[in-house]
Subunit: 947 residues, 2 copies
C-alpha cells in the first residue's frame, strides 16, 4: 500500500470538498482557475480523523509533508517562515466539508515572535502594525491553541484603552501596545505554565493540533448532533500565507460583488480602502470608496478585478461576493462566495445569466427564491450594501420613481449610512418608517385624529386614499387589548415574545411589519422611553425605521421606504418561465372583486376559494332576520332578500376570472357569528328595558344567542351541517351562483363555477348536499332555458373526510373535486384551536416539540399523512366511475413554498393562496416540479392525466 | 333433463330454507319430527322466480302438482276442498328464505264460498263462525289478491258496528254479518268488475298468483333495497289446511313457552282458551287460563304438549314459543319460534341446557346477549308475560326477596295486568315508578323537602341512605335549565326529541330512566296535565310507571320495581365461562375507591382509566391558589399541599385492585375549569366592590379567567400541554403515584401503576413528559430506598397521535402502552363537539347520515380506521426495541358490545368501561372472540404474544 498524501498545496489537486473541506476546496478552485490567491496548503479532513483515532498524535510523515509544503509557499511568496526580518506569516484555519458557522477555529499571524518585532518593524517601517499583529497572535494562540480563559487578556486590553482614553483597539498608541505585549506574555506564562513560544514552527505545530482537536470540543459535538452532521467526517486545516493591505501606499483592501446586489445590474460593484486591513473596513471608522474610484487610482488592479470577477462568475456560474487585498501593488483574492442579493437583483441576475448563456432557464428559476419574490413586493429600504446598512437615498427622487425604473433612480441616488440600534426576530416582513408610540390607545387616537399628537408628525402612510400619520408601536408585549393600536400602526416592535407570540401572529395577519423579542439585542422599555444597548434613549414621537426580512433591524434615522407597485420586469420573466415548468397550478383565495383583480393580474389560474361569509356579514340585518325566523316561511323571506346581493357578487367574480374556474364555498361559519355577543345583548336589554317592543326583540335575540352558543364552535353546527338542517340557505346560494353563471354566459364570457360543500365528514352529507345543489341548478336551468357545466366538490377539513375519501368520491353522486381546508384540518388533526394556540405554541416551537407553525406550514408527518391517504383513496375511487378527481388546497399553507412542495409530491392539481402570495406560489410550484423531477407528479403515474 | 318438482308436502323433503322459505321450512321441520301440524304443502321459492321471469304465468305442470298436493291434504284431513258441506279450507301465505317482517301476504279461509255458507253452518252448527270467516275471506281476497282499495270495505264494517252498537268485530250479531256479506259482494263486483269467485279452486289459483306477484310490489322492493336483500331469491307459497279452535267444546287455542320466559325455570309455561280462535286470545276480551289448568281439563293434550315441547327443544336446541290449537280433541301445532325471554331467564336456560347436554358452553355464552346482562342489573318490572304486560305482583313479597331467590318469590306472586298508556323511544334503560311532575323546580323542591308537595307521596326511592319521594319528570323537552329537576327524579319522559336529545343524553349520563318522543304515541302535554291517545288525563302527583329496554312503555298503574342487588347466579356462571374464552380483557374506568370496589366485585381485570380531575375539584381552593400563583415557588407551595390528598387516593385504589394494573391519567382538563365562570366572577366583583382586599383578589381571578378563556377549550391548553408548561404539576402527581405504590408494596400488596400522559399528539411531547415522570420516579426511589415497576404510556385521542403512533412508541423513551381515548378521538376525527352535537346529531341519526351515535359506538369507518392504523404502526415500532406495546381503550365506547367486537378485531388487549358495564363487556368480549374465531386475534398473528 503506497503512502497516502495528506497535505496538498492550493490547486495541487482537483478541488474535493470532502477531502479538503469547504474553505480548502474554494481556495484550491480559485488557485486552479488562475486567481492570485495567497499561496498555502490544506491538510486533509481524513488526516484529522487519523489524528483523533491515533490518540491525538500526528500520523507518521505528516509533519514532514507540512514542512515541505511550507517550503513551497516560501518559494512562491519570496519570504521565509521564521525569518525575523521579513517573515512569512500564515493563518491556520479549520474548515469542514459541511459548513458549520461559528465553529471555525482561526489563528492569524502565526510565525511572528517577540524577537522578530524589531527587525520586522524596521523592514516594513510600521512598528505599530507589527506590534498590534503580535498582540493579536498571543490572544488567539492563548484562546484557540492553549484553551486559556481569555477574560483576563481582555481586561488588560480594556485597561490600556482606558489609560490611553481611546475607545477602539486600533487607536491604541504604540506605547500602549508595548505595555500590553509585556503584560500578555507574562499572563500567558502564568496561566499556561510555559512561556509563549519563540519558535515559529512550534507555533504552527501547536495550531494544527488545536484545529484537529477542535473537532471534538463540546460546542462542535453539540452542533453536529443538533444539525445531524456525522461525527466521522473531520475538519481540514488550511495554512495560508498572510498578505497585508496596510503594507504601504500601494496596498489596500476591499470587497466587491460581481454584479450589483441591490439591482442586479451587470457591473462590478463594491468598495475599497487604501492602506487598510479587512478589519478596518468592518470597524466602519474610515469610509471606503466605491470600487469605481479604483479605476483612476490603480487602473491595472481594477482591470484585473474585472477579469477575475468574470472568471469567478464563469466558474461558479453565479454572482460572487469577493474579498481582495492589494499588497505593494499586487492583487490577492482572499475569498469568494455566492453573493447575497435583493429579490429584484436575484431575478435580474438570473435572467441576464440566461441571456448570457451562463445558466439554463431551469437554473434561473431555481436561483430565485420564493422569499425573493415575496421581498420584491414588500416595502423595503433600497440597500446599497446590506452588510453595512448603506442605503440609496431615493427620498428626493421619489417623484421620478414612477417615470423611471428603480435601476435608474438608484444610479442617481446618493448613498447614505443607516445606524442599527436594535435587532429582533423577523415576525412580519417589510419596512416601515414612523414615530415611536408606546401606547395602543394613543396610536389609535393619533391615526383617527381624535387627539392632537404630542409631537410633530413628519412621517405619513397611505390608508386607502387618505394619508395618516405613520407610527411604530413599541410595547413590552402585545395582547388582544392592543389590537386597535396594532391596526393603527405601520410597524410593531415588542421587547419579548417569539415568532408565534401575539404580536407576531396577529401583526403578520393584519399585514404589519413586526419585530419581536428586541430585548435580546439589549433594548429595554422603561415607561415611555426605549433604551438601546448603547445607551441611546428614544422618546415618544421620535422617528425610527425598521426593516424585516430574514433579519429584523431597527434604525435610528428615518429611511426612505420603497413600496413596489408591481413586480420588477426580470421577476415577471422568471415567473413566466416558472409557469412553463410548473406541474401544479396556482389559484387564489378571493372573496371580492378587488382581490380577484389583483390575483388575475398576478396570473392566478382561477379562484380556489371564494368564501361567501362576507356577503352574509354585509347583509347582517337580513341574516339576523333569517336566524330569528320561527318558521321556514319567515326564513325564506329573509333569504329571498339576500339573493340579489349574492348573485351580484358572483357575477363580478365570474367576469373578472373570465373563463377561469371559480370555486365558491357555501356558507361555512356557525350562525352565532352573525349574532351579537352574549354580554353585549344582555347589556342592550338593560339599556332598552323601558321600550317593550325593543325588549321583546332583544330577548328573542338573547334566546337565539343562548341557543346557538357552543362550547367548541370549531366543532359545532356549521358548514354543511347547517346547510342540511336549513336546506333553504344552500338552495338560495346555489340559485345565486347558477343564475350568475347563466347571466355571464349570456354576455359571451366563459364561466366554470365549482360549488364547494364545506365541512363534509360523511359520504351521506355530501350526497344529500349535492342533491340539493343539483336539483336547484336544474330548476334554474329550466327557468332560464339554458344550462352550464358546473362541478360540485367538497372541502377536506375533517379528518374523517380524509379517511373516507373513497366514499365521498364514490359513484355518480360523488365529489367532482376535493380542496384541502388545511386550516381546519390541522386544528382537528393536531387538536390545536387556532385561536387558543398562542398559549403553548411558542413554547412548543422554542423547545422543538413541533418543527414549525402548522398554520403556516403543513405538518407533513401528521396532517400531511392524512392528506396523502385522502388523495390516494379519493382518486382510486373516482376512477371506478371514470372520473378524474381534481384535488387542491385552499388553506393558508397553500402559499407556503415548503407546503407547496409537499402538495406537489402527493399529487395535488393546484394550490390556492391569497392574491399577493400568487407570484410566490407560482415560483414555488416550479421549484417543486424541478426539485422532484425524479418522482415526477404522483398523479401522472398513478392516475390518468387530468383533463 | 328430468322435470323438477315445484310442490312439496310438509315433511316430504328435508327442510331447506332457501327452497321452501323460512315458514315452509319450519312447517316441514315440525312435520318431519312428528309434530301434528295441520297438513299442507309449499310451492318453492324457485317457482316464484320462474313465474316472474315467465311473464307472470304458472310454469307448465305447476297447477297439476298443486292439485295433486291438495288431494293428499284432503286425504290426511278427511275433508274435501270445495265440498260445500264440510269443506277443507286452507290458508295461503308467502314466506321468503330471509325474514321480511310486515311483508307477509296472507289469505285465510280460502275455499269458502257463498254457496257453502248454509250447508257448512248446518254441519258444524255455528253459522256466525262460518259467516264471519266468509266476510274475512272477501276482505282479504279483495285486498291481497285483487289489490282493491280496502277503505270502502272498512267503512261498511264500521257502519254495521255503529248500527249494531258494538265496538269489536266479533261482537257483530249474525244479522249484521248477513248484511255485511251482501254489501261486500256487491262492492267487490263494483270495484273489480267481476263477481267474487264461487269456485274454490279459482280462489286458490288467484291467491297463489297474488303471493308470487307480491314479491315485486313496491313495498317489498323498497324493503329489500333498504335491507340489502337480493331480488332474485323469490318467495315460497305455503298452502295449509285450516283448523278451528272454536269448533266445539273439545276445541281451544293457546300459546306456550317450553320454559319460563321470566325466570328460565324448566317447565312449560303459557295459557289457553277453550272454544276460541287465536284472535280471541290476542283481542284480550276473555281471560285465558294458565297452561297448568289444561292438565285437569284435557290431560292427554297437556301430556302431548309436554312431549312436543321437549321434542321441539331437542330439535331447535333452544327454548321455544309455540302456538297450538285443539280441534275436537285433536292437538295441532301451528307455529314454533325461538322464545323471547328476560336476561335472567336467558342465562338460566343457557346454563341449564349445558347441564342437560343440549348445548355447549360456547353456545351458551352466545345464547345470552350483552343486553341480557345489562337488563338483569337494571331495575325492572318482573313480567309474567311481557307481550301482554302481565306482571308478577311482588310488592307484598318484597320483604322476602332478600331471603329467597327471585324464582321462588315469582312462583308465589299473583299475576296482574298493567295498562300501557304511552310509548316512546328508549333513551335511558331501567324501570321506575313515581309521581308525575311537570316542573323541574317543583321536582327539586319536593325531593329536597323545601316545599310540601301538593299531593300525597306514596312512592319513594333510595338516595344513598335516605328515602326520598320518587318522581317522574314529564316535560315537552328538557334543556340545561332542567338539570336539577332531572337529578331529583327517578324517571324522565319528554314529548319531543330523539335518542340524542338533551333529555336522552343527559338523562342517560346521570343514570335515569328516560323515555323521549312520547308524543309519537299520541301523548300530549297541556299545561300541567298529560293527555294520552285514549283521552286519559294524568294530573300532577298521579303515580305512573315506566319500563325502558328495547322498547319504552308508560303505564297507568304503580308497578312493583325489582332492583337486583347482584347478578343472578346463572348469569355469573355464564360470565365465568365467558372469561375462559375471551381473548380481550375487561378493565374498568374508576376514579374513586367506591367505583373500584364495584368493578373488582364484577371481576374487572384492572383499572384502565383512573382520572385525577376529581382530586383537583375536591381541593378547589388549593388549585385556585396554584392557578393564581405568579411564580413557580407560589405554585409549588399550593401543589405541595395537594400531594397528600392525591397519594391517599392512589393508595386506596392500589389496595382495592390488589395486584391488578391501575392506569392513572395525569391532569387533563384545562385550568379554566377550576375557575369560576366569567359572568359569575364579574357579578362577584360588583357585590364585593366595597371590600378592597376581596376586590383585588376578584380582579386577579377575573384576569386569570380571561387569560385562560378559550374559543375551543376541547382543542386548547390541557393535557400534556399543561403538564409541559407547568412540569411541577406532572412532578407532583408522579410523586404521589410512586410514593403510594411504594407504601402499598411495603404492606406486601402487589402493585402495577401505569402512568398515562393525556393528549399527546407529538413524539416530543411524550418523550419530554416521560423524562419528567422517570426522573421524578427515580428521585422517589432514591428517597425511599425501594423501587417498583411502573409503565408510562399515553392516551391516543388526537388524530395526529394515531397517525404518528410509530414515533410515539419508538425507542427506549417510547410509550409502554396506548389507551384509546375514544371520546376525544371521535370529537376530533369527526369534528363533533360532544357538548354541542345535540343540535344536529338527532337529525343525522334520523336521516341515516350517520349510522349510530359515535359517542356510544365506535365509528368504525372513520375513527376506527385511525385506530387500526395506530395499532399497526405502534406495535411494529415497539418491536424494534423488543417491546410489546399494550393497547386498550378507555373511552365510553369501551363498554359497548359492537365497539368491543371492533376493538378485538384490531388487536386490542383490553377494553375499559364504567364499573356497572364490566359484566356486559365481559360477555361481549367472549362473544367477539367466539364470533371472530377465524381471524383469531390480530396481535397473535402479527405480533409476538403479549407477556
Amino acid at each position: 500500500m503506497g503512502k497516502e498524501k495528506r497535505v496538498f498545496l492550493f490547486g495541487e489537486i482537483e478541488p474535493d470538498k470532502d477531502l479538503l473541506g469547504g474553505k480548502g476546496a474554494s481556495l484550491a478552485t480559485m488557485t486552479k482557475i488562475g486567481l492570485p490567491v495567497p499561496p498555502g496548503f490544506t491538510i486533509t479532513t481524513k488526516t484529522c480523523i487519523e489524528y483523533l483515532n491515533n490518540n491525538n498524535t500526528f500520523p507518521d510523515g505528516l509533519w514532514q509533508e507540512v514542512l515541505q509544503a511550507i517550503k513551497k509557499v516560501e518559494e512562491k511568496i519570496g519570504r521565509k517562515f521564521g525569518d525575523p526580518e521579513f517573515p512569512l506569516l500564515v493563518s491556520v484555519r479549520s474548515g469542514a466539508s459541511i459548513s458549520m458557522p461559528g465553529m471555525m477555529d482561526t489563528v492569524l499571524n502565526v510565525g511572528l515572535t517577540k524577537g522578530s518585532i524589531e527587525p520586522f518593524s524596521k523592514t516594513i517601517g510600521n512598528p505599530k502594525f507589527v506590534k498590534d499583529s503580535f498582540r493579536r497572535l498571543i490572544f488567539m494562540y492563548a484562546d484557540v491553541v492553549c484553551g486559556l480563559e481569555t477574560e483576563k487578556f481582555s481586561e488588560l486590553l480594556e485597561e490600556e484603552k482606558r489609560k490611553a482614553n481611546v475607545s477602539h483597539d486600533f487607536q491604541l498608541p504604540e506605547s500602549s501596545l508595548d505595555n500590553l505585549i509585556a503584560q500578555y506574555l507574562e499572563l500567558f506564562q502564568n496561566l499556561y505554565g510555559k512561556p509563549f513560544p519563540e519558535d515559529s514552527f512550534l507555533q504552527l505545530e501547536m495550531a494544527v493540533h488545536a484545529v484537529f482537536k477542535s473537532w471534538n470540543n463540546k460546542r462542535a459535538i453539540n452542533y453536529r448532533r443538533y444539525e445531524g452532521i456525522p461525527d466521522d467526517i473531520g475538519t481540514a486545516v488550511n495554512i495560508q500565507s498572510m498578505v497585508f493591505g496596510n503594507f504601504d501606499d500601494q496596498s489596500g483592501t476591499g470587497v466587491l460583488f460581481t454584479r450589483n446586489p441591490a439591482t442586479g445590474e451587470n457591473e462590478i460593484y463594491g468598495e475599497f480602502l487604501l492602506q487598510a486591513q479587512g478589519e478596518d473596513v468592518v470597524a466602519g471608522i474610515r469610509t471606503p470608496s466605491p470600487i469605481s474610484e479604483l479605476k483612476k487610482i490603480m487602473p491595472h488592479i481594477y482591470d484585473e478585478l474585472q477579469t477575475y470577477a468574470k472568471k469567478l462568475e464563469g466558474h461558479y456560474r453565479d454572482m460572487q461576493d469577493v474579498e481582495f487585498t492589494v499588497e505593494s501593488g499586487k492583487l490577492y483574492i482572499l475569498q469568494t462566495r455566492s453573493g447575497k442579493r435583493t429579490g429584484t437583483a436575484a431575478a435580474k441576475i438570473a435572467v441576464d445569466m440566461v441571456n448570457e448563456n451562463i445558466i439554463s432557464k431551469e437554473e434561473a428559476i431555481l436561483r430565485v427564491s420564493p422569499r425573493d419574490v415575496e421581498s420584491s413586493l414588500f416595502p423595503s429600504v433600497v440597500w446599497a450594501n446590506s452588510k453595512k446598512f448603506q442605503y440609496y437615498d431615493i427620498a428626493d427622487l421619489e417623484a421620478k420613481l414612477h417615470a423611471h425604473s428603480l435601476d435608474e433612480v438608484v444610479k442617481k441616488a446618493p448613498i447614505k449610512q443607516a445606524t442599527v440600534i436594535g435587532e429582533g426576530l423577523p415576525a412580519g416582513p417589510g419596512a416601515a418608517c414612523g414615530h415611536a408610540v408606546f401606547d395602543s390607545d394613543l396610536a389609535e387616537a393619533i391615526v383617527k385624529g381624535e387627539k392632537s399628537p404630542p409631537f410633530e408628525i413628519t412621517q405619513w402612510r397611505k390608508e386607502g386614499d387618505k394619508k395618516v400619520p405613520s407610527l411604530i408601536l413599541i410595547k413590552k408585549e402585545t395582547s388582544p387589548e392592543d389590537f386597535h393600536g396594532m391596526v393603527a400602526s405601520s410597524g410593531i416592535i415588542t421587547m419579548t415574545g417569539g415568532l408565534t407570540s401575539h404580536a407576531a401572529l396577529v401583526g403578520r395577519q393584519i399585514g404589519k411589519r413586526v419585530i419581536v423579542g428586541a430585548s435580546s439585542s439589549g433594548m429595554d422599555l422603561l415607561g415611555r422611553k426605549l433604551r438601546t444597548r448603547d445607551g441611546l434613549v428614544i422618546d415618544e414621537g421620535q422617528v425610527l425605521s425598521m426593516e424585516v426580512f430574514d433579519e429584523a433591524y431597527i434604525f435610528k434615522e428615518p429611511l426612505p421606504i420603497y413600496t413596489p407597485t408591481s413586480l420588477p420586469s426580470a421577476m415577471l420573466t422568471v415567473l413566466d418561465w416558472a409557469d412553463e415548468v410548473a406541474k401544479i397550478k396556482v389559484r387564489t383565495n378571493a372573496d371580492k372583486e378587488k382581490d380577484a383583480l389583483v390575483a388575475v393580474q398576478f396570473k392566478a389560474k382561477g379562484i380556489g376559494l371564494a368564501r361567501t361569509e362576507h356577503q352574509f356579514f354585509d347583509a347582517l340585518p337580513l341574516v339576523q332576520e333569517m336566524i330569528l325566523a320561527e318558521t321556514k316561511e319567515e326564513r325564506l323571506e329573509a333569504l329571498n332578500k339576500m339573493i340579489d346581493l349574492q348573485r351580484d357578487d358572483f357575477i363580478k367574480l365570474f367576469r373578472v376570472l373570465h373563463g377561469l374556474p371559480v370555486t365558491i364555498r357555501l356558507l361555512d361559519p356557525p350562525l352565532h357569528e352573525f349574532l351579537p355577543k352574549e354580554l353585549e345583548i344582555r347589556e342592550r336589554i338593560w339599556q332598552q328595558i323601558l321600550n317593550p317592543e325593543q325588549t321583546a326583540r332583544n330577548i328573542k335575540v338573547l334566546r337565539k344567542v343562548l341557543y346557538y352558543q357552543e362550547s367548541n364552535p370549531m366543532l359545532g353546527l356549521r358548514g354543511c351541517r347547517l346547510g342540511l338542517l336549513f336546506p333553504e340557505i344552500m338552495e338560495m346560494q346555489t340559485r345565486a351562483i347558477i343564475e350568475a353563471a347563466l347571466l355571464i354566459k349570456k354576455q359571451g364570457i366563459e364561466v366554470y363555477p365549482e360549488i364547494m360543500i364545506p365541512l363534509v365528514g360523511f359520504q351521506e352529507e355530501f350526497v344529500l348536499s349535492r342533491e340539493i345543489v343539483d336539483s336547484t341548478a336544474q330548476k334554474v336551468f329550466d327557468e332560464m332555458g339554458d344550462t352550464i357545466d358546473y362541478k360540485v366538490g367538497t372541502m377536506i377539513e375533517i379528518p374523517r373526510a380524509a379517511l373516507t375519501a373513497d366514499e365521498i368520491a364514490a359513484g355518480k353522486l360523488g365529489a367532482d373535486f376535493f380542496s384541502f381546508g388545511t386550516n381546519d384540518l390541522h386544528q382537528m388533526t393536531l387538536g390545536f384551536s387556532r385561536d387558543d394556540v398562542g398559549k403553548f405554541l411558542p413554547y412548543y416551537l422554542e423547545n422543538k416539540i413541533i418543527k414549525s407553525d402548522p398554520f403556516q406550514t403543513i405538518d407533513v408527518d401528521g396532517a400531511g399523512k392524512l392528506m396523502d391517504i385522502c388523495v390516494t383513496l379519493g382518486r382510486q375511487s373516482a376512477i371506478n366511475v371514470n372520473k378524474y378527481l381534481k384535488v387542491g388546497i385552499c388553506g393558508e399553507q397553500g402559499g407556503d413554498p415548503e407546503s407547496i412542495d409537499f402538495c406537489y409530491r402527493i399529487g395535488l392539481d393546484y394550490v390556492s393562496c391569497s392574491p399577493y402570495r400568487v407570484p410566490v406560489a407560482r415560483l414555488a410550484a416550479a421549484h417543486s416540479t424541478l426539485r422532484n423531477a425524479e418522482i415526477d407528479s404522483k398523479f401522472l403515474k398513478q392516475w390518468p392525466t387530468p383533463p
